[in-house]
Symmetry: C2
Subunit: 233 residues, 2 copies
């Protein structure tokens, strides 16, 4: 009988934000899998490090961050094949996922490859979205407010349309797009409503008005824009 693949959300980075179910699954895992930046650290593994059994087998997927998709696809193909072999051998595999597995997470690529052939269970995790809101002490949305999640690399026109249509907008994957996003928000009269959050829940967490953020943002950064149409009182 084949094993089960668990896609386990670890939350935004602070190991204390791992759920009890995720912690139990990782502690009991004989095989864990995780992505890492090619040649570098695995953020997912670092979050869960204290929970991984010393004798657990580790399947590491070195995923290059390139604009061309083919190298990453090849890394997920190879990882999926190794995981499939473990599942076929009867082992369960716990795949470690930063944040939530289905929210801009790399687990989606494994899910697409393996769910047609194996039993897959997904354990949701705390997303960077609400972790950033907590860090910024900023409610995201209430009652009938509309919230949109916008990847920063999108073109200006698309960003502008969504900025106008929603009550709350979260720009993810800010990184090198920060100056362009700030110019756009300024032109829309929304700079004062924009908060910048970097590395939420980690030791190096930083929160400030977007107006004060420097131009060179890391990949793990976010801009929160709440128009405050509803006074929440």
């Amino acid at each position: 009988m084949s094993g089960t693949l668990y896609g386990v959300g670890l939350g935004p980075g602070d190991p204390e934000l791992i759920t009890r179910r995720a912690a139990r699954l990782i502690e009991a895992a004989r095989v864990v899998a995780y992505p890492s930046l090619a040649g570098g650290e695995s953020f997912a593994r670092a979050i869960a490090a204290d929970l991984i059994a010393p004798d657990a087998r580790e399947i590491r997927m070195d995923v290059p961050m390139t604009r061309d998709r083919a190298p990453a696809q090849a890394a997920y193909d190879a990882g999926a094949a190794e995981i499939a072999a473990a599942l076929e051998g009867g082992d369960d595999v716990v795949c470690l996922c930063e944040g939530d597995p289905f929210f801009y997470g790399s687990f989606m690529y494994l899910h697409a490859r393996l769910a047609p052939r194996f039993t897959v269970r997904t354990v949701p995790g705390v997303t960077s979205l609400t972790a950033c809101a907590a860090a910024a002490a900023m409610p995201l949305a209430a009652r009938n407010e509309v919230m949109t999640v916008l990847p920063g690399p999108l073109p200006d026109a698309a960003l502008r349309d969504h900025l106008r249509a929603a009550d709350t907008v979260i720009c993810m994957k800010v990184g090198r797009h920060l100056p362009r996003l700030r110019a756009l928000l300024t032109a829309e009269g929304l700079l004062d409503a924009a908060t910048y959050v970097e590395r939420a829940t980690l030791g190096a967490e930083r929160v400030m008005p977007l107006a004060e953020a420097s131009d060179d943002a890391p990949y793990f950064s976010m801009i929160l824009v709440a128009k405050g149409t509803d006074p929440w009182l």
Copy 2:
């Protein structure tokens, strides 16, 4: 010295989806606060029940679910006053919040009332959003896809515009709006892309194509629409 108010996300309902930090804070709490439906159960308290110390003081806010806002506002005013008194007496207060405190959560109303006067810390939780995605085995968004969260009670025109603009749409607060939302999605050619999820992570969880859902949905239900513009491979 005044105590600290903690707004603690409990996740979507399964107590195993409580984070380790939330669990520790609740176990150590001498005073807990939570909303309940006037005269009825508190869902938040039920999720955390096993963690609350037998001798903890409990501040219960009976919040009526009426279209008129005044009765709920009065309930939060009274709750905030009781919590403020405990904080002034030097006790920390742990406020139990379904899902995440800042994501369509009632904690926002306490935060607005108490953050100007007291130290408030928010502990993010797993949202119903990703819990429903996990239950439906449905990735939400990847790469540069745009995701919008839409409250079901919004008027048709607003819903339609957002349905067209985003790659993934999550309709929350479905309840009695289900027939109208289904008609709208059908007219937009999106019925086949729509999944219905009810009471995610609870014993009574149900997942099915929206086409097969019955007209009378409970409040804790959601419709997930993924256009699948990106093949995730």
